[in-house]
Symmetry: C3
Subunit: 130 residues, 3 copies
């Protein structure tokens, strides 16, 4: 089963918490024991797992990625969003999460985030459960 | 089934499109519904998913990674390729792609790339389908 | 089956080789053919695959990540460890390794590492075999 999530991002760059939606897809699947692959089919977005408590961490991740030198290189790609493509490859377009007793086996402070690097846009996230 | 792809890289650093080879491995497997794990067994190479349209994006990714500060640190490793090892860990040596109706479920603009960071060399990529 | 590994880190930042522990979990599972998902449930740690020969590579990875600009940005998160969170998202909290003939299918020079970015601490690593 593949569940397709739709996520509307509101800023040029932001992390959007999709943990509840992924958890709902796992519950809906009825799978008790397996893996969930969370994959975004875009090349200027990514999926990551990070802190779910202090929302400052989400904005600090955007800030820290901006503070690297990748924004200012002399890029050839005419759309002007090469840094967003690079961030997508650095963070990665998917995450794998273990399913145990029908639930996502995340750490206490872990949430799953869609990373928008070239928004705002409407993004998709595929959740495949095996 | 594990399919081993052989990729000859032509430059010190480049992204080589391996999407067609991975798709062929999926077709050959006969699997209609599952996951493909695309894994490179090297420590100065990586696997990523990024834009398949404008080839400038591929060279911009190499350029952007070079523009980070990691090339010039005072490394101890005697082979002189520590930055390539770090890029391998940042981008990651594998990707997971969902298989749906016998095909790789990639976004419209997504291709799968072997990232060479210390070539030219002959590289291997393992494709495991489950 | 999920195997939980406990890893005591000794420094603020370091890479700890967990390959033997992951291999033992695979052997214990009896699985001959599949995938191992190696996942750490922490937001200031990561899992990576890199060189297992020269230990300088491990310290060079820590050094290279420090040499990026992410340490010095003007972060909001009050714990002061935002760079560790960003490194966790860049390197990623999991790796997938193919299991073939009952063994991890790693390259000759590849080992699996827990990356500590905010230690020393006691960390957990989950190994899920399918």
């Amino acid at each position: 089963m593949i569940k397709i999530l739709t996520v509307r991002t509101g800023f040029n760059e932001e992390l959007v918490d999709i943990t509840a939606k992924v958890s709902a897809a796992v519950a809906e699947s009825g799978v008790k024991d397996g893996l969930a692959c969370v994959f975004t089919p875009h090349t200027t977005a990514a999926v990551t797992i990070n802190e779910n408590a202090d929302p400052d961490v989400r904005s600090d991740i955007i800030l820290g990625l901006k503070s690297m030198r990748i924004e200012s290189a002399d890029y050839a790609h005419i759309e002007g969003n090469s840094a967003a493509h690079i961030k997508s490859s650095l963070v990665g377009c998917s995450e794998i999460v273990i399913i145990d007793k029908g639930r996502l086996l995340l750490g206490t402070w872990q949430g799953i985030y869609l990373c928008e690097f070239d928004g705002p846009r409407t993004r998709e996230v595929y959740v495949k459960i095996i």
